[in-house]
């Protein structure tokens, strides 16, 4: 199973104040908060690790159909950050999920799967999101994410 998550950085900056007291503690482990603290761009690190966790959670919950909101239990590991991409893995409910992210000027997008081999063949389709246009549903994407101006679709 595969999961994906996109964050529109301009909307995130407007709608989410991650510097709010107590906010990061509810989402990130101590080790992850250290990464944010020392990051060159803390905002990018926050939303990068957030999309990693969301993508892994979606990959997991698609299979189990189990809904929960426990971001601190999904732990980011082995994060390697380049200018426009990142990779890593996440540990959740005894499983390891591999993640691959793209860091664009206006968005961060991550895909996650238990199968590392699946990730390299995937071409995420990122387009403008229109809340009145549901036609993408009939194309049967394996995973859907939308936030702000962006719609991200994954086809296997």
């Amino acid at each position: 199973m595969i999961g994906n998550d996109i964050v529109d950085l301009s909307i995130a900056a407007k709608e989410s104040n991650w510097a709010r007291t107590g906010y990061l503690e509810k989402i990130f482990t101590t080790a992850e908060r250290f990464h944010i603290q020392v990051a060159k761009d803390p905002q990018i690190m926050v939303w990068l690790m957030w999309t990693m966790k969301e993508a892994a959670y979606k990959a997991y919950s698609r299979e189990t159909k189990f809904r929960t909101f426990a971001p601190t239990l999904i732990c980011c590991n082995n994060l390697i950050l380049h200018d426009e991409t990142a990779s890593g893995d996440l540990f959740y409910e005894g499983k390891v999920f591999y993640s691959q992210s793209s860091i664009a000027q206006n968005y961060i997008h991550t895909i996650a799967s238990e199968k590392a081999s699946v990730l390299k063949d995937i071409n995420p389709k990122i387009s403008d999101y229109n809340e009145f246009d549901n036609s993408y549903r009939s194309t049967h994407p394996a995973s859907v994410s939308h936030h702000g101006h962006y719609l991200a679709l994954i086809y296997l």
């Binding site: 964050v7 995130a12 709608e15 989410s16 104040n17 709010r20 007291t21 107590g22 906010y23 509810k26 989402i27 957030w50 969301e54 809904r67 929960t68 909101f69 426990a70 601190t72 239990l73 936030h147």
Partner: protein
């Protein structure tokens, strides 16, 4: 505080993060924060922090994990207030 009052307070708390105002107007125990109110999951954290501030309670991560809808959230607030003898 009775359940209706709690839901009314919760309605005020979730309002700024809600993207479906019609669903907000019809808020009830079965209302789901993400599926019905279209609250962004990053804003769920704000809802939890606002609940903590409003009711002067602390919500741990296990409790937060369940707070995806009105019923669970109100149940957790009630049990916290009861434990603190502030019903």
């Amino acid at each position: 505080m009775d359940r209706e009052k709690l839901i009314a307070k919760l309605k005020e708390i979730v309002a700024p993060y809600t993207h479906d105002k019609e669903a907000l107007a019809k808020i009830n125990q079965t209302t789901d924060f993400i599926n019905d109110l279209k609250i962004n999951s990053a804003n769920l954290v704000d809802v939890i922090l606002d609940v903590e501030e409003e009711f002067d309670i602390e919500i741990d991560n296990l409790e937060m994990a369940k707070m995806l809808n009105v019923n669970e959230t109100v149940t957790i607030i009630e049990s916290k207030l009861k434990a603190l003898d502030r019903e």
